[in-house]
């Protein structure tokens, strides 16, 4: 066991796999982390026009199933504390 490995407690093959998982998702979709952030902001803006959401807890993830990529959005809605006029 090398010094670095003892320090981090992580085998290098595991780092390789985790790094590749992220790199491949972005290579396959052409979506950089920055582009994903922009997409998230746009999505929040559009959905907020229709329902009240909790923008701080919106999550957008790219997931894979086999060789297929999927964009998964989790958008929590605000409890409707709807004040009636009058």
């Amino acid at each position: 066991m090398g010094f670095f490995e003892r320090l981090t407690g992580k085998k290098s093959a595991r780092s390789a796999k985790e790094r590749l998982q992220l790199v491949l998702i972005h290579d396959r979709t052409d979506l950089t982390p920055t582009a994903l952030d922009t997409l998230k902001d746009d999505l929040i803006a559009v959905i907020s026009r229709h329902v009240e959401i909790d923008p701080a807890n919106v999550r957008i993830d790219l997931t894979r199933e086999g060789r297929e990529q999927r964009l998964v959005a989790d958008i929590p809605l605000r409890p409707t504390t709807r004040r009636r006029a009058n």
Partner: protein, 264 residues
């Protein structure tokens, strides 16, 4: 006879494409099948030296495509296996001397004469790669259990998907079992999990590959080395046989003794 065109490619250079082509070809030909290899790496030919046929070249693929010789004349017969042939790449021309439709035409002509046409693709994803995959019935992607090779393999798989080519199969080359056991190399399962295509071969790292290339006699010709065995198994799987993978993960007696003695 209706020959099958198999293209071996990788994206990244130096992962063992040429070695794979030479060894699979030798393995198929030693089972009595008629095989022609085409070196698709125009300007950087190498399959001739790996097969030990560099001194016999008279005509090359560009001569065939440009009509300076008949296809037959550019097919160099192997020294050891009379059913094995090589059509070498041109060394002094550039990759644009051959087009994808030239390759399709050449392979259609060869299909009538041989069982297998193996194409050694150049690295990269440009013209040479497109030439190599244009006529392919099957594509084998060679990768190493290593970051950049896996990433480039994924890119090539994506390009083949986009072109609606038949689903490729994977050769994981240069696997070092003791590094995998130490957790310092991606395992076969890791690579499969990342790329998710059918695995047709797992070839261990083997010093004999260098020795074989020094001599110009592909490994699969001799019975002993594990890498040679792995390449012969790939040839059998291409033929539709169900062949179990060699057990590379289990430890050798020496490894176990060394571990007991606290050396590992």
């Amino acid at each position: 006879m209706t020959g099958t065109v198999v293209t071996i490619t990788s994206g990244k250079g130096g992962v063992g494409k040429t070695t794979a082509v030479a060894n699979i070809a030798v393995a198929l030909a030693s089972e009595g099948q008629k095989v022609v290899c085409i070196d698709g790496d125009i300007g950087l030919r190498n399959l001739d030296v790996i097969m030990g046929l560099e001194n016999r070249i008279v005509y090359d693929i560009v001569d065939v495509v440009e009509g300076r010789c008949r296809t037959r004349q550019a097919m160099i017969r192997d020294k050891r296996l009379p059913e094995l042939f090589l059509i070498p790449a041109a060394q002094t021309r550039d990759k644009n001397a051959v087009s994808p439709s030239d390759m399709v035409r050449l392979c259609d002509e060869l299909r009538g004469e041989v069982d297998w046409i193996l194409i050694d693709s150049p690295a990269g994803i440009e013209r040479g790669f497109r030439n190599a995959v244009a006529p392919a019935d099957r594509v084998l992607i060679v990768t190493n259990p290593e970051m950049s090779a896996v990433r480039d393999a994924d890119r090539v798989i994506g390009l083949l998907e986009a072109e609606e080519k038949p689903a490729p199969s994977l050769i994981i080359n240069r696997l070092n079992p003791s590094m995998v056991r130490r957790g310092d190399m991606l395992s076969v399962d890791d690579v499969y999990d990342l790329l998710r295509i059918d695995v047709i071969g797992i070839v261990p790292e083997d010093e004999n590959v260098i020795v074989a290339s020094n001599r110009g006699t592909p490994l699969a010709l001799d019975g002993k080395s594990k890498a040679g065995q792995a390449f012969r198994n790939i040839a059998r799987r291409l033929n539709g046989e169900q062949v179990p993978f060699i057990d590379l993960e289990s430890q050798s007696l020496w490894d176990r003794l060394a571990r007991l003695a606290g050396r590992k």
